[in-house]
Amino acid sequence: MTLLWIALLPLLGVLVPALNAQRSRMVCSLATALLPAIALLLTLMQIPALLEGEALRFAVGWLPELNLELALRLDGLSLLFNILIMGIGLLILLYAHFYLASDEPVGRFYAFLMLFMASMVGISMSDNLILLWLFWELTSLSSFLLIGFWSHQSDARKGARMALTVTGAGGLALLAGLLLLGDMAGSFSMGDVLASSDRIIADSRYPLMLGLVLLGAFTKSAQFPFHFWLPHAMAAPTPVSAYLHSATMVKAGIFLMARLHPAIADSELWTVVVSLVGTATLLYGAWFALFKTDLKGILAFSTVSHLGLITVLLGIGSPMAVLAALFHILNHATFKAALFMSAGIIDHETGTRELKQLGGLKKAMPVTALLTTLAAAAMAGVPLFNGFLSKEMFFTETLKTPVLGGLSWLLPALATLGGILSVAYSLRLVHAVFFKPAREAPPKSPHEPPHLMRLPVEILVVLCVVIGLLPALTATHLLDLATQAVLQRPLDFKLAIWHGVNLPLLMSVAALLIGTVLYWRHRDMRLFTRQFESVDARRVFERFVVTMGYRAEQLLTAFEGNSLQRYMTLLLSAAFVMGVIGLVQVTDLTGAAGNQPIDGVVILGAVMLIFGGIATAATHRYRLISLLMLSIVGLFVALTFARFSAPDLALTQLSVEVVTMILLMLALFFLPQKTPQESSPLRNVRDILLAGSLGLVIASLNYAVLTRETLSISNFFVENSKPGGGGYNVVNVILVDFRGFDTLGEITVLALAGLAIFKLLNRLRLFMPHSDGEGRVWSPDRYPAILTSVSMTILPLALLVSAFIFLRGHNQPGGGFIAGLITAVALILLYMARGVEWAQERLDFPFQPVAIMGVAVATLTGLGSWLFGYPFLTSSFGYFTLPVVGEFELATALLFDLGVYLAVVGATLMILANLGKVTTAHRPVTEETEKNAETSATPTSKEPR
């Protein structure tokens, strides 16, 4: 449980500054420091238990499907890292308290920082691979926020994004790697994984897994060639740089390699890859550190270099190398944090980090100068400082390793070279800033910072010296525990300052001497390197991202094209392919049932339909003609339904056909009357081929089904139509009873269409052509008189027919839908004959409520069955006798059908009448013709209007 608190306290610490942001900075800082301080204390309190060899674990289940547990461990490695993370974190908090300007949102800054600390602690303590990954990615995110903290600076934004992209990408690779690793180990639990080294290394997927995991580690630890983001992350406020790039974030990669060391490091591949990458990074970072002119840039590249050094050690992988690596992790954290903070102090006090503006500061800032010099000495590996010890161990290990076979001398040589460069840039850092006179004046006149701001640096420098002088006393226990955790067994070692005169010592001495010389001559070197320095990683990266976005856009435009024709082609091609795949599995297209004999009327119908279909397509450029051809098809489809014994369908098709025609013509008025020739012949051929092939597929499928016996559930409907549904017309009974739910949905669709169209017509501005497609002016006779009077006669008859069709629907062809359409069409005829204004005046009910009422009636009919304990839409019917009238049948289905009727009438009128209304008010008519039209509409003035 203590482990959980250790992990949880920093996380809760995120809330503290967020809640205290409004208070004074002092309160906020102190409150923020409280929780991590407790956590650090708790961690330290575990040391006795660890020394006694206790395994500290905590686990609760979380997501079993992913083998994810909230599992924490505290072993030597975690202990080392926890102390670094939280210890240095607290120092950073203290430092940041002074560093940030008074108007900066310190609460937010602390919250980000605590989030980062919490995720680092999480990484260090995870006892589950997936959990580790969760925290791993969280560090990327929180570092993104921290690096971009000064978001008004373009550098900060870009640096943050670059860091996130690179480490995020690595994180994704790591996820894949860890999933593989877990799979290979058979468990995601760290303990199990670390114990299954043999299985893992023997697995054929080992190289892939190793590659993915290392990709994650290398990107995070800024190893060559993924190092480029780190220098640009220096756009962050210095406390961030000090924290992320000395002690924590970049060490996460190192931590990962150390953590998984027992499981995955025992192979040639590991040694070669890791130590080579490490060496390259070591040299590359050191080389560029020598020539950077930005103080933090120098530190950034030196960080890259030192991370390389640690990586080399982990690559070598011998017990002593591991020890050296861990020791250097500790040392690097101390001196690098101190150096970053010093750099921040200098920046803070002088207003610049440019070397050329800095110089001779030892007078103004003697204490800072001393502290920086000491820390730099540690970095350079000067004897008596902690850096010397671990570097000495590093040289020793490079001499021992057989990793490169015959070329084994190369590694110590390169290590020495790294040492030389390290000495040179450390020297340069100190000399240029504090001793050499400045070439330009700094923006501010420098003086010492407040003492408390310097305190963290002092503490760290003291640590550097103390560890350097008394390694056995200060670091042994910690390193003992940590190595034990990495090696999974105790290691017998002694830390000492003096090992006698040996080759490593000679290498150190050589490094110091040659390094000094090198710094002295470094101006010549700079001239030499200038030739290679042209590549700016950030610009390359930015250009890469921009180009990628641009290419993606190009690709997408070319691919998607915003062309319905293309989408349609793809859709139809997909349907074609699918149909063909089915058809090739139909062995015999003509089934057992075969063909029925053919007769003349059927041939006529087929001829008409085929002709009509082709003609509609062929004449599509002359839109009205195409419409006329379409109505041949509509008519003959209805006749086909009649021919094949489906009177209901024939009636429905007929009424829908007319309404569709009216609708299409209403719309056509506002659209071009003709389509210009625009498809190329090739395009036409392609379209014809595609449409034809899919047509062929559909025809074949149709034929195949038609020539097979039907095996349908329909007999049930026929048998139960009268006894169960109370009607002789099975089709109607299916619609209002067996499948009434479909019909309910269907009238909802219809009402929705009305509503949707109403939305479309809202504030629609249309240009009304003054003339038809041939340029003829419209006839001024708006409402031909003869049509007007006939429409009056037809309306009552149509209503009667409509009532008839409605009432008989259950027992005879007909029903609410057809009746509704007839009513609607008769009313539309009135609109056509007399105009919207006239009709609207007399037809004063609003259509939307009618349509909705239809749906409501149908729904309520369905709900009624609940009262009797039956499911929704259960129908009932009965026979009643009235005097005079005699026996008659009443069915709830009729009520349902009434709903259908109302919905159809309401929706159809909503569509057509509203569409008609669009044009009424502002049709461009001259006064003169208007007057004529008026008189023609009402020939005699005697008539009341």
Binding site: V602, G613, F644, L671, D687, L690, L764, L766
Partner: protein, 110 residues
């Protein structure tokens, strides 16, 4: 007869599809209407073709499969609703965009 029927649905489908591949709204709408006619014929025939069936249960047997009929009825109504919507959408699109292209072209080529 089945062959002729299938050919008819095939030709109607093909004609409708050809129209839906045009570059202007109106032919596309007409094509969709034609296509829905074809599909209704197709769906209708899934219960087999009955040339002299009774329409009502009390008129003897040899029934045309009523289930596809009911389905087609629903499909006709829904198809009508959809056609109505799309046709007015085409109008609206022209009023907003200024032309009746569906292929993302910005201006008229005439």
């Amino acid at each position: 007869m089945e062959l002729l029927y299938a050919m008819t649905t095939g030709v109607l489908t093909a004609s409708g599809l050809y129209l839906t591949l045009r570059g202007r709204t109106f032919p596309v709408v007409v094509g969709l209407t034609l296509l829905s006619y074809a599909v209704n014929l197709f769906l209708f025939s899934m219960g087999g073709l009955t040339t002299d069936g009774a329409a009502l249960v009390n008129e003897g047997n040899g029934f045309a499969d009523p289930l596809p009929q009911a389905l087609v009825l629903t499909a006709i109504v829904i198809g009508f609703a959809m056609t109505a919507f799309v046709v007015i959408l085409a109008m609206r699109a022209r009023s907003e965009v200024g032309n009746d292209h569906v292929d993302g072209k910005k201006e008229d080529r005439e």
